[in-house]
C-alpha cells in the first residue's frame, strides 16, 4: 500500500498533464521524477533543483483536476462533456450550439477543425461562446468530494477550490524549506519550517526514509531486523512484535472476551476465538455491559441534578437577598416610588441586561449621564453608588426594574381614575342644562299646538253654524225652481273644494290679530278675529268632526307668541 500524501503521486502527475493542456511550455521540475518509481527519491538531490528557489505564493498549489473528481450523486447526461465524458469544466458553447469543456474542444480542434458532433467547421476561439448561465449554475451545484487523498470533505463544486486552496489540511503545499522543491501535505508542515523531506535512516532497516514518511515506513514497509515470534513461529519484524502479540498471534494466550462476565477460559488466541463464538457467558456479558452503561448514565444524570440543585439554591438566595434590600429601601420613600416616565430602555441598558458583567458598570455610568434614570425621584442621589454596587446580577437588576415599573403603573392607574371622574362630572353638568332647555322647548311646543287647535276649532264651529243657517233658508225656498237651480250651482262645502280666494296682502295686521280668510261660498271677504291670547282656557273641548279647513292651517303664519 502506498503511503498517503506522497507528494510525488497523484496531483503532481496530473498537474504535468493539465499544464501541458494549458500549453505552458516549461514543465514543473517535479514532473521529471519517473512515474514508475514514485516514492524512491534520488539519494542525492538534483543540483539543478537546489539552485531554484521557488516562489511561495498560493499559485504554487497544484491545480485541481476536474476530470478525476468524484461526484457524489449521479450527474445528468446532459452535463457531461461528450469528449471526456465528465461534467463540463469551464465549458464553452460552439456556434452550432454544442457545449464542451474548453480543454477538450481545444484538443479536438487541433486534430480536426470541425465540431465533434455535427462536423460543422469551427474556428478556434472565434466560434466559442459562453454557455447559458443555467449550465454554470447546475455545474456549480454538483456535489463533489475533495480530490486530496485522505480528505473526506464533500462540498458543492463551486466551493471546492476555496476548500482546496485554503482549508484542506491534505492539500500539498511547497515544503517550507526553501532548498527543497518537494511538496508536503499542509498538516505535515512542521512549525519550525524544517524540511520534512530530509532523509533519516530507519532505526531497524538502515534504509533512509523521508521524515514525513517515517511512521508509515515503520508500520507498513520496513522489513529490517526480522525475528521469529516465540509463540507461533511466524517471521515478524522486530519492532512490530509487540503489536503482533497483542493483536494477531494465534498462539498467544489470551482470555475470553467475556471474562468480565465470569468466563474462565484462557487459551491460545486460535482456540479462544473459536470459543468466543458460542461462549455461554456471552448473554451475561451483554447484560453486564448494558448495566455498566446504565450506571454511567445514572451517574451522569445524578451529577447534573446536583448541579441544578446548587444552582437553584444560589438563585433563591440571591433573590431573597435582593428582596430584602428592596424592602429596606422602599420603606422610607414608599410614597415616592415613582419613576419619571421614560420612553424605552437605552441600548446600554439592554446590553447590560444581556451581559451580567456589564451591569454594575453600566448602572454607574448611567448615574452620571442621567441622574433620574433608573432612580426613584424621591431618593437622594447619594444612595446611588451603594445601589449600583449591589446589582451584581441581571436578576437583581430586573427585579428592581420590575418593582419600579409596578409602582409607576399604580400611580398611572390612580391618575386615570381621577381624570375619569372629572370627565363624567363635566359631562353631567353640561347635559343637565341642555335637558332643561329641551323640556322648556317641549312645553312651548305644546302651548303652541293648543293655540292652533283652539283657533281651528273656533273657525269650524262658526262654519257649521253658518251652514246650518243656509240649509234652513234653502229649505224655505224649495218651492221656486229658480232657487233650486241656484242651489245646485252652489253645492255644499264638503263635497267639493270651493275655489281659493286670493290671499290678502296683509295677512297679519299690526294689532297682532290673526287675519283669517273664512272663505267658502258663504264667506265674503276677510274678517278680523281677536287674537287668542289668554283664551286657552276657553278652548272648546272637542270638535265633532276632525276635518279642518286647509286654508286656515296652511297659508297663515302663526304669531310667535309664547
Amino acid at each position: 500500500m502506498p503511503p498517503p500524501n506522497t507528494p510525488e503521486e497523484g496531483l503532481i502527475t496530473r498537474t504535468a498533464e493539465s499544464l501541458a493542456l494549458t500549453s505552458i511550455s516549461a514543465p514543473p521540475a517535479t514532473a521529471s521524477s519517473p512515474p514508475s518509481a514514485p516514492r524512491t527519491r534520488a539519494t542525492s538531490p538534483d543540483p539543478n533543483n537546489r539552485t531554484t528557489c521557488p516562489s511561495r505564493d498560493s499559485s504554487d498549489l497544484l491545480e485541481i483536476d476536474y476530470q478525476i473528481l468524484e461526484y457524489i450523486d449521479s450527474v445528468d447526461e446532459t452535463l457531461l462533456c461528450p469528449v471526456c465524458r465528465t461534467p463540463f469544466y469551464s465549458p464553452i458553447t460552439t456556434t452550432c450550439g454544442h457545449t464542451f469543456c474548453a480543454g477538450c474542444i481545444n484538443r479536438a480542434l487541433e486534430v480536426q477543425p470541425t465540431c465533434p458532433i455535427d462536423r460543422q467547421p469551427i474556428n478556434k476561439t472565434r466560434d466559442y461562446h459562453r454557455p447559458p448561465l443555467i449550465v454554470k449554475d447546475q455545474l456549480d451545484r454538483l456535489k463533489v468530494k475533495c480530490p486530496n487523498r485522505g480528505c473526506e470533505h464533500i462540498c458543492s463544486r463551486e466551493h471546492l477550490n476555496a476548500h482546496y486552496e485554503r482549508r484542506c489540511e491534505y492539500t500539498l503545499v511547497r515544503c517550507p524549506d526553501p532548498w527543497c522543491n518537494k511538496r508536503i501535505a499542509r498538516r505535515h508542515v512542521s512549525p519550525a519550517s524544517a524540511c520534512m523531506h530530509r532523509e533519516v535512516s530507519c532505526r531497524y532497516c538502515e534504509q533512509s526514509v523521508p521524515l514525513v514518511d517515517l511512521n508509515t515506513h515503520y508500520d507498513y514497509i520496513c522489513t529490517g531486523a526480522t525475528t521469529k515470534c516465540s509463540d507461533c513461529d511466524a517471521t515478524v519484524v522486530l519492532h512490530r512484535l509487540e503489536k503482533h502479540r497483542l493483536d494477531d498471534c494465534p498462539e498467544t494466550i489470551i482470555r475470553c472476551k467475556w471474562h468480565i462476565a465470569g468466563c474462565k477460559v484462557d487459551d491460545k488466541r486460535r482456540t479462544v476465538l473459536e470459543h468466543e463464538d458460542g461462549c455461554p457467558y456471552e448473554i451475561i456479558g451483554q447484560l453486564v455491559k448494558e448495566r455498566a452503561e446504565d450506571r454511567k448514565t445514572i451517574e451522569n444524570l445524578t451529577d447534573r441534578l446536583l448541579a441544578l440543585e446548587t444552582e437553584r439554591n444560589e438563585t433563591n438566595e440571591r433573590r431573597a437577598r435582593r428582596r430584602e434590600q428592596l424592602t429596606q429601601r422602599s420603606t422610607p420613600s414608599s410614597t415616592s416610588i415613582y419613576n419619571p416616565p421614560r420612553d424605552r430602555m437605552t441600548q446600554d441598558e439592554l446590553l447590560a441586561l444581556e451581559d451580567p458583567l456589564l451591569a454594575p458598570h453600566f448602572v454607574h455610568n448611567n448615574h452620571h449621564n442621567n441622574p433620574d434614570d433608573l432612580t426613584p425621584t424621591g431618593e437622594a442621589s447619594s444612595s446611588h453608588p451603594s445601589r449600583s454596587s449591589t446589582w451584581v446580577s441581571p436578576e437583581d437588576y430586573m427585579l428592581a426594574r420590575f418593582e419600579r415599573l409596578e409602582a409607576r403603573m399604580e400611580d398611572l392607574s390612580k391618575q386615570f381614575l381621577e381624570t375619569d371622574a372629572h370627565q363624567s362630572m363635566n359631562l353631567l353638568q353640561q347635559t343637565m342644562a341642555l335637558n332643561q332647555q329641551l323640556v322648556e322647548l317641549g312645553s312651548k311646543v305644546g302651548v303652541l299646538s293648543m293655540h292652533t287647535n283652539w283657533l281651528m276649532n273656533m273657525q269650524r264651529h262658526k262654519h257649521f253654524q253658518q251652514r246650518a243657517g243656509a240649509v234652513a233658508a234653502a229649505a224655505a225656498a224649495a218651492g221656486f225652481s229658480s232657487s233650486v237651480a241656484s242651489a245646485s250651482m252652489n253645492p255644499p262645502y264638503p263635497t267639493s273644494m270651493p275655489p281659493q280666494p286670493p290671499i290678502p296682502s296683509s295677512a297679519t295686521d299690526n294689532d297682532n290679530n290673526i287675519v283669517v280668510n273664512v272663505g267658502g261660498s258663504f264667506g265674503n271677504g276677510t274678517r278680523v278675529v281677536p287674537s287668542p291670547v289668554g283664551v286657552v282656557d276657553n278652548l272648546p273641548p272637542r270638535y265633532p268632526n276632525g276635518r279642518s279647513s286647509r286654508r286656515n292651517s296652511e297659508g297663515r303664519e302663526m304669531p310667535p307668541r309664547l
Binding site: 498533464e17 476530470q67 461528450p82 469528449v83 471526456c84 465524458r85 480536426q112 465533434p116 458532433i117 462536423r119
Partner: protein, 155 residues
C-alpha cells in the same frame, strides 16, 4: 501506457460498459487502458453471419478519444473474421468512422461496436474486398497508417 486523458475517458467508458451494454455486444477483457477485447454478433437473421460471434480488438493511443482507436477483428478457433466487402481477411476494417477523417471524439467503444454491428447487418454480399489476398500478403502497415479510400457508401 496511454496518457492520462485517455485513461480517464476509458475509465468512464469501462464503468459504463460494466453497467450495461446493448444486446449483441459483450466485453471480453479490459485489463488495461491500452487494449480491450469485445465480442459482437449480428442480431437479425442475416444468413451470412447467423450464429456467429466475432471478436474485436481495440487498441487505444494516448490521444484517444481525440484520435480514433485501432479496431480489428481477431481470428480465433471459434471467432472467424466476418465476410464483408470492407473487411479484409486479416481482420482489418475499412470504415470511415475509424479513420482520421471520419472519427469524432464523441464516438466511443460502444458506438463503434454498434456501427460495426449495423455494417454487418446491412451487408448482403458474400465477398471480401477487391485485392484482399494481395493486401493481406503485402501489408505491413498498421491499420491506422493505411490510406483507405472510402468510396462505397452503400454498405
Amino acid at each position: 501506457m496511454a496518457g492520462t486523458f485517455a485513461t480517464k475517458r476509458l475509465g468512464k467508458e469501462l464503468a459504463k460498459i460494466h453497467e450495461s451494454l446493448p444486446p449483441g455486444i459483450e466485453l471480453v477483457s479490459a485489463d488495461n487502458f491500452e487494449e480491450w477485447f469485445l465480442d459482437i454478433r449480428v442480431l437479425d437473421s442475416n444468413p451470412l453471419y447467423l450464429n456467429q460471434i466475432y471478436r474485436l480488438k481495440f487498441k487505444f493511443s494516448a490521444q484517444y478519444p481525440i484520435e480514433p482507436p485501432e479496431v480489428v477483428f481477431v481470428k480465433l478457433a471459434d471467432r472467424p473474421i466476418p465476410i464483408h466487402p470492407h473487411i479484409y481477411s486479416n481482420g482489418i476494417i475499412c470504415l470511415d468512422l475509424l479513420g482520421q477523417q471520419g472519427w469524432s471524439p464523441v464516438q466511443n467503444v460502444q458506438s463503434i461496436c454498434m456501427s460495426l454491428q449495423s455494417m454487418l447487418t446491412g451487408n448482403s454480399k458474400n465477398e471480401r474486398p477487391a485485392g484482399d489476398e494481395d493486401f493481406v500478403r503485402g501489408n505491413r502497415l498498421r491499420p491506422k497508417d493505411i490510406n483507405f479510400y472510402y468510396h462505397d457508401n452503400d454498405v
